[in-house]
Each structure stands twice: as C-alpha cells, then as structure tokens.
Symmetry: D2
Subunit: 345 residues, 4 copies
C-alpha cells in the first residue's frame, strides 16, 4: 500500500503513521517529494488492506499496489485451469471447460415439464452442446411470478441427465438446498443476484463440485474474482466465471453485456470464462450475434436459453432461441471458434 | 398491458394475439391508429406480466399500465405505515418509525468488543438516537477481511440492549441464523448484497419482526419495492426501506447516495424510508452534510456509523463518525427536522 | 401517446384532458378499465411529444407508442444505407461503408509528424484498411495535455491522402473549423463529447459530406439515433453510427464497449454501424479480441488506433496497436467476416 | 506518478524505465519490495501525465499521486472564491455567489413570451431569488422540439433584466453566439451537454464574465473540475460549478442528483457550488425536497424552473414549479439555510 500525504501533513503526522505501521508489524518506506510525501507500507497486503489507512491524520489518499485476489489471480498458477466433468456413462466422453473446445451450455430458462426438458436435452446434445442448463429454482423479481418447479424440477433434471447422457448445470439459491442440488448437478450455478451471497459461496467452497459464478449486475470484474476467491479459499478450486451483463443506463437491452470482461478475466485469472448472451441482452434476436461475439472475444463457452415455443415460456421467453435458430448458431459459433484455433461440439 | 404492434403487423397476427388473449382469460381492446395498431389487454395484471407478450408475432413493444408492487404501493393503504417497537423495560418509551419523529440509528459498523459496544450504545441513547446499529455478521468483499464476531457478537448486542435500554438493529445474512438474530434484534437488517436474496426475504416474511431492507447497489426503486413485496406477501407488513447509495461511475464517493429516492419512495409507498449516508458516501466528512440532506429530503430516519477511534476500526473506519462529530450532527438534524415540522430525539 | 390515469382520476379531469387534446388538434380514445382509465392520443406524434402530458391533472404516466426518430429509423428506407466514397485518383476504387465489405479505419490517435503519418497510411492501405484515421484537433480532458496539431495537422492529412491514395476521416470539434476540415476529410468525425453538440450537428447537416457520429459516454442508443436525426433533418443523409463504449462503474476498462448496440442499431436503423474497440477498452491488449467480437456481432467496420512506438505517443498510447499486431488483427478480422459472408480488405 | 511493476519484470526493463525517465527530465525513486518493485517518478506531474507510462514494458499499473486540477483545486487559493455581480442600477445591491447567502436562481426553462418572462422575473425577485434563469437557446434531444427563441429571446431577457432589476443567467451553446449572450447575461451557463465542449470553454476563458458550468451526465467530479480548469487556464477565474444529476440505471427520475458532489466539490475546490434539482429529478414534486436537501448539504445556491402554467410549457413542463410552490420553497430554503448559519433572500 502507498500512502500519499496531504501537502499540509506535519512531521508529527508522519511520525504517527510510522508508529502505527510498526505497531501493525509493517515496514515503511518514506519518500519526500517536492509536492507530496509518500509512504510505502510493506508487509502482508491482506493485513494492510484491513486497516482504515485513510483515517490516519495527514493521509490524502491510499493507493493499492497489489490486487486483492490471490488464488484466482493468473500468477497463482502456471497454465490455465481446466475443469473436467467425468463421463456420465462408462465409455462416454468427459467434458473439459477451459480447454481448446468452446463449450456450449443450453436449455430452457426454467424446467417446465418432463417432455420439454427431454426434448431440449436431446436437441442440445445432438447439436454439439455439452451441458444442459435448466432452472429448478428461479430467482424472480416479483413474488407473484413463477418460482420454478423446485425439487420436482431437480428430479426431472436428473432423469434427463441419465436418459440423454448430458451433463447438467442448475442454479442453487439457498444453502439448505445445496446438498440436493449438488447431488444432481455437474456444475452448480450461482446466479447474478447471489454473486456476493458470501454465505452461499463459503458453503460451496466446502464441496468438491465445479461451480459457475455469474457476475452480478453491479459487480466489478475485481469483485467477481473476489467471489471466486471466497469459494477457492475454502478449498474448492473448480470455479468458472460467467459474464452475463451489467446494469447501465441503456434501456434497449435488458443488461449491457460487457464482453471486454472476457479478455480481461483471461488476463487477470487462470479460471475459465463463459458468456451468457441470453441474460446479457434479454432479446432472442440479439443472442446469436452476441454469442458469436463472445466466442470471437475468446470466451471458453457460451450459455444460451432455448424454448420450443417461446411465447408460452413460463419465464424469460423473450430471450429464448427457437431450436432452429439454436442449430444455426451452433454452426456459426463453430466457424468463429476455428478462427481462434478452437472448435465447438 | 398495452401491446404496440409493428407497422407491418398483419390481420392474421392480430387475430393470433386476440386468440392468445382469450386463451389466457383476458379481454382485449383493439385500437387501429394511422401509424400503429394498439391492443390493450385487460385482466389480472400479475397473470398478464408472466406472459412473454413481446414474443407474439407482430408485437413491437409492450407497455405496462400498472406498477408491479401491490401491498407496498401507496394506494394499498390509507395513511402511512408506522412501525412501533415496544418499550424494552416496563414504563419505557416505544420507538415509532415512520411517524413524526425522525429516528436516528447509530453505532459501530462491526461489534468489536463489549466495552466499545456499551460505550457507543450509551452515547447514542444519550444523544437522542433511538436505535443501536452494530453488525455481528459482516458481508465483506474479501474472504480475508474480518467477517464479524458472529454469535458472540449477538450476545454482546443483547447485553447492550438490556443494559443500556436501547433498541437494536443488526444484519442477517444466512437463513440458518435467522432465528438467533430475530431473538436479539428489534429490527432485522437485510443488507445491500441481499436485497434480492429472495430465499432470505421469504423466510423473514414468515416472522413477526420488523425488517429494514437496504437498496442494492444495482437495484431500481421499483425492485426495492418488489423486495418489500416479497416480505409482505408472506404476511410480514413491518417493512422499512433504506436508501444507501447505488453504484455509478463516480469514484470520489464509495457509492452515489440517491436521495431523490426518498421522496419517490414516499410517493410510491406507505412504508417508512431511512437513508444511510455512511455507506452512501464512504467518507466520514461527507456523512454529516448528507445526513442533513436526507432529513431535509423527508427521510423518516438516518443510519450512521460511529467509532471511538476510527483509525483502529476493524471495518469501514473511513466512514465512521467520531463521537463529538456525531453529537454535533444530532443537533443539526434536529434543527433541519424542525423545518419540516418534525423532531429528532 | 397513451395516458394512464391515476386510480383516483375524476370525470372532470378526464374531460379536461379531452378538451386539451381537442385544443391541440388530437383525437382521443378513452378506454375505461377496472383498475385504470387509459386515453390514447392520436395525431402528429412529434407535436404530441412536445406537450408536458404528465402535468395534466389526473395523469399517472405517459407511454410513448412511436420511436422519436424518423429519418434514421429502419422503416424510413427500403434496404440499408451504403455510403460511397469516390475514388481518390482516376481509376482508383471507391470505398463503400455499409455494404458487404467490413471496412477498417485505422491510424494514429493524433497526427504527430509527417513521416509517421505517411508510414502508417501506407501500412493501413497495404494491410487492406480502407480509411486512415488521424486527429488534428484533439478533445482532451485536461487543458494541459497535447491539443493536436490543428491546421498544420490537416495539411499533413491532405498530403497523406493524396500521396498514399487512402481516404481519411478526422474529427471536427468547432463549427468554425468545419469548412477547413470538410475540405480535407472524406468523412467528418463527431467525437463522443460532441454527440449532442446540436450546433455542430446542424451545421454538418447542411453539408454534402459523410459524417460518423460517435455515441457519447452517457448516450442511449435512442439518443445516438436522434443525433443522426439532427444531421439528416437538415438534408445530409450520409451518416455513420459508431459505438465506442459507454461509461459504467467498471474501472478495469476505460469504457464499457456496448457491442449489443451493434445489432440493436442495425435493427432500429438503416445506417451503417462501426465499432471502435480502441476507445471502447483503452488497452491495446483488449483491442484485438474486441475488434474480432465487433465483426462477429455484425459491425460494418471497426476503427482502431495504431502507433509505431506506443510508449512515445503524444496521446492515448496505451490503446495503440503496434503495426505487427495490426497486421495479425486484419487477418483475423477477415476470417471472422467470412463466417458472416463478408470480407475485410 | 508511481509505477507498479509486474512480478515478472526484469532488471533490463527496470533500466529501460529509468532511462526513459531520465530522457523525460524526471527523477526516479526505485523501491524493491517482496512482491513488487515500485518506481516513483518525480517532476512536473502535468508533463508526466502525458506519457503512456503503462506502455513501458514491465509496468503493471500506474498510480497518480496528484490531482490533475491545479487552479480549481482548494489548495490553489486561501479562502473560497466569491463571485460578485455588480448592482444593475446605481444604489442597487450586488449579488455575491459563494458567500454567506444561499443564492436562488429561478425562472422558466425557455423564454416563451415577454409577459411571462416579466411576470416570472418579478415573482423571483419579490420572493428573494437573486438571479433570473431563462433559456434563449435550448439544447433539445430532438431536432423536432422547440429550439428556443434565440436572439429574440436574448432581447426579452435584457428587457426583463433592466425593467425588473434582476441579474440573469442564460445558456450559450455556440461559440458564434458568445458575444451576444455575454452582452446580456450576468452569468454565462454551460449546459450539461457542453461540459466537455472544450472549444466553448476556451473561448469563455478569454472573457471577463462569470460562468456556471453544469456537470455532464457522464462526467466525474474530477472531469467537472477539469472543465473549470479549461476556463481558468485561459484567465477567467469566475467559475461556478453546478451539480444537476448524472445518468444512472434508475428510471423513476430523469437523472440521479448526486448531492454528495456538493460537499466533495467544496472540499476539493474553492469555487462556488450550485445544485439544480429541476433537471436533477425531472419532476416538480421532487424539486422542493431536493432543493431543501441541496441547501442542507451545503450548496451555495440552487437553480429551479418555474412556470405559471406548466401544462402549457414549451419545454420541460414536468419539472416546473407553480409560483405558489416556489414561494413555499423559498421559505423552507431560508429556514434550512439558517441551520447552517446562512440565509436565503
């Protein structure tokens, strides 16, 4: 940490700061410039961060030298994290996220019925999608909206997984449901409203189960990495990051998909990065161009919503792709991936 | 709901929309203008909202006629909600939030020690503050930061409440802690990171205990009201709303305190409205002017952080008031409140 | 326009609204629902928009049926606008923006010297870039920063254009410079700080000269289209739209490049759409992935900054590509464009 | 400036950085920590800022020690700037902005007619308002909206000033109108869309005429101060700063009035600070509470819009106060001002 002192800072204030530093077990390096005196504090950065340094009399501003994430930081690991999902059936193929393949996660927003789920699961698998997404527990802004099928939905998801032979990702909102969701899901999903639900993150950190953390609508890239850090600091290192749009002033899209977060996250961290253009835009006609853009930006995968009949969807129908649009998208994504030396499906 | 059709919408599309409306049990009112055909859908608005109307072929846009909140809406109630906290001791005075008095909630960010908590509790009470705030469970961006004293902190809070005779508010982050927190707190606090933790809101809705919901950093005023609606729809109508700053591009303050939310919330809802200038600004020297401003804007109360020695605070020291600054603020708030025919303390 | 009345609106208020509508020459259509009375106003929407309808007693909210842009709207034109720049020399090739080719505009942020400009112009042309970008007038946040070479820069630009045979785009900030800039530039650039400089837009509207309008940091997509409308309503229909990032809370990038604006603008308007990943991200290592993403999202072109020696650039060196990186990017953009049936260079 | 080097930075890179610093005439101070090497650059900060330091190989991040504003900075001046408008008539009273009095600037959004302007001017003066605001040139999002009366409006403004004896402020949008506007106005207004119209700011800097610069919708507080710096660096030190709302995701208000900017600006700068709750909220019923809040936050004045018949206003009728509401507000503002030892009127 670097303390920039006020122009008017007195020698006594400097001494008080140095004494405080010593009391905290830190080394201090004073540099007296023409305009400002600067004090560098050297020691355990995590410890230093916890101090309200800007309250020390004479301090004008505090500048951080190191990033607050450690386990999630690129420099914490040689090479990139690849998350491997074991084959469902003997002799089946594993799925690897963060490797050369661009992984497509697709499915309905909500689990609505057995038939629909099985049909879409088969469609996704046939088209080269590797993960079935489908929500049993739905975080809805209104208490009067459909809240998901809950445990009945989880059972259908388990059935689709086994019957169709496709890995599944589904959201968990409540620590009390964690065991049940983890029993079915290959990847746990932490939704954008729970990015900083630290209670949930800590519990997931105690499991041996991959988790995909979505970036919250008001979360910086740094905060998303700190949420990953919560999980990792508890011992679970299988974390996937997901950009799904932030909240801005623009009303023509549901959110603003911050695709630059993809290359930033890949520079800052070794963890795989997925983009979700369905929630990121909120309109089906924007999903395909933004899915292509995500792959072109270097995403390790995309997550999209599909519905056989969007005008009857129980949630988020506006952003669901028709099966035929999904198939066209898969073809385009594969071709864009090839430009980067990757493939889809 | 009003559907604006595309200029190119065909008669067949209009018929399909009308058939869908009938199937959903809705009445439809068609108005054919020069530029656009417009269809008004009449019926249960909650039901209508759940339909992906913009997916109906020929629809250009969908306009909502009614607000999505019902129980929290101003028109749901004659007069304003006043939340009454019973006296702690026989013969003591109750505290009323949402009445003529502007209620000050003050205390340390975190519970750090028994002595400190008791000292501040006494200070707050003596100065005319009605509620002691102090966190036992702290949502911190970093897993490496102080996470609060937890249950030990709750016990100290109960002791301060009883010994000093002051009502208390404290945050609950985990549904599994709800019973324990509710046993101590007069008001439960839902923090800005949990505004849309619907699991937590639903459980709180089942209690008979006042709750203060903070506006999340990315939440619109409407969404804050919908979070109140979650609690109210479960049966708990004792909800307090709290503006504590939203996230914007401005880096000189920790958040942007949206004080216009105060009069907007008071127009849209019958619930009491509190402002938190400590989190809303992040700097102690901005807390006093913004607390005055909040009262001038019509807030039913303010929540501020105090620390006897901010440079040694375990969390958020930068935004804590010194006791003497707090006392000066109380005097100023009282005088501003008088301009509006109210009082503090 | 649709007026939603308050639940408490009286019959007298309805009559007053209808009388006002008649006085304004509008037809009104009253629909009395269970919860709300709704009044549709029919007539010249532009005229209706100018009225403060929400001030009419009894009105709760006002809903717009039509978009405020007319000439810029997709429905104003059959097919898309293609902007054709005539060949510089006899027998040379024209450049078409908005056609099948994805057009790359590249060059230094500022014109710094004759040699550097000529070198980069040759590089851009050789690599298949069609337009040389280079600033003579630079809008800088600080009055103490380099403000551009001004008229001397324009002369160098004219020389580079003639010698190398490449079309040029350059920014105009001051109406008093308009004639001089238009004498040199093939395309005028209106920068992000002047998106709503209506004085400048109106004057450009009176010229016969293509103009590229950059989206301002706080401008919605609708406002960008309204700025295009300013130019078009004066008679100049050769407008190019440019997404270059909006301002959000994310500090890791200079701006947030809103790539979803590309497909939205192409749906809402017939005008060509360019993306600028240099200003959109502010870091050279993010420019290439975001340029690829822009092409994948359907942009008609990209604008990027190049510098032979970024660490000595007089402005915006951090976001400039080295020549060799630019060449690699051109190859990748061409291959992504092919996926969409387009080409680069 | 402080350079934080990458963990992997080599000794050769350090040497290259030191050589660059020497070449730029800067002194460098190297501090080798356990985790990072840090280099402090000492010399003319303005000069240092112009270098793309983050492009130097081995540099991870660049931290600024000094604020970029100099003349506008609090430390540039002993005491606060007070702007004195000479009396209009002999024996009249001057108006001082930035002194003990809280100055109210009020009037119609647009000049619409002679009678209306004179009536409102008399009302404002009688109620204790010190400055008449009224727009002759109106920046409107749509080219089809009323653009102001222009020069005819200026003549009416001059008449109202002379007849009623009240100082006037009016907006200038076009450098070509500057002389004419300055001939009438006591204070020039730079609107929110021109906060970074550096052409206009530089020209105003050459005049001897007070100017009020509104904060742009996407401008940080630092950028607003840099816009003041543009004017001041040309020689005109009579600058007033105005907070009028920034653009955020909240749709219930037209903008988000960032009242914390008031105390921040007063801490960072010696210039007077005004708040505009009319544009800051966009709704007349929010103007009065937010005007009170602005005074409570320490603003040196407020600017509000008045209209005798808002439902017939040619622009911004929704945010105009009725005369009787204005009178009530004036009384309340005076009483709030008294709490801070100030007065209104």
């Amino acid at each position: 940490m670097i303390l920039v002192l006020q122009k008017s800072a007195t020698e006594k204030q400097v001494e008080h700061i140095l004494a405080s530093a010593r009391a905290w077990g830190l080394k201090a390096n004073v540099s007296r410039g023409v305009e400002r005196t600067i004090i560098g504090l050297i020691g355990d950065e995590t410890e230093i961060r916890s101090k309200p340094l800007d309250m020390l009399p004479g301090v004008e501003s505090v500048l951080a030298v190191l990033k607050p994430y450690k386990l999630a930081a690129a420099e914490a690991r040689i090479g990139r994290t690849q998350i491997r999902l074991a084959p469902i059936k003997k002799g089946g193929r594993p799925v690897v996220i963060g490797g050369p393949e661009v992984v497509v996660m697709a499915g309905p927003c909500s689990i609505e019925s057995r038939e629909m789920l099985l049909d879409i699961a088969r469609l996704v698998k046939k088209a080269g999608g590797k993960i079935l997404r489908a929500g049993a527990f739905k975080p809805r802004t209104s208490p009067y909206s459909f809240q998901g099928m809950g445990y009945a939905g989880l059972r259908l998801l388990a059935e689709a997984r086994a019957k169709v032979g496709i890995h599944v990702i589904t959201e968990v909102m409540d620590v009390r449901d964690l065991e049940a969701v983890a029993a079915v899901a290959d990847i746990l999903q932490v939704g954008a409203r729970n990015t900083q639900n630290f209670t949930l993150l800590k519990e997931i950190g105690k499991l041996h189960k991959p988790v995909m953390i979505k970036r919250g609508l008001a979360n910086t890239i740094e905060e998303l990495l700190m949420s990953a850090e919560y999980v990792m600091s508890e011992g679970n290192h299988e974390v996937i990051l997901c950009e799904r749009g932030i909240r801005t002033f623009e009303p023509m899209t549901r959110n603003t998909l911050d695709l630059a977060a993809v290359p930033v996250l890949k520079r800052e961290s070794h963890l795989p990065v997925i983009a979700d253009p369905s929630h990121g835009t909120g309109h089906w006609d924007l999903v395909v161009p933004m899915a292509r853009a995500a792959v072109a930006a270097g995403a390790d995968g995309v997550m999209v919503e599909i519905h056989p009949n969007p005008e009857e969807a129980l949630s988020d129908g506006s952003q669901a792709l028709l099966p035929k649009t999904f198939l066209r998208m898969m073809d385009e994504l594969h071709r864009v991936a090839q430009v980067l030396g990757r493939k889809v499906g």
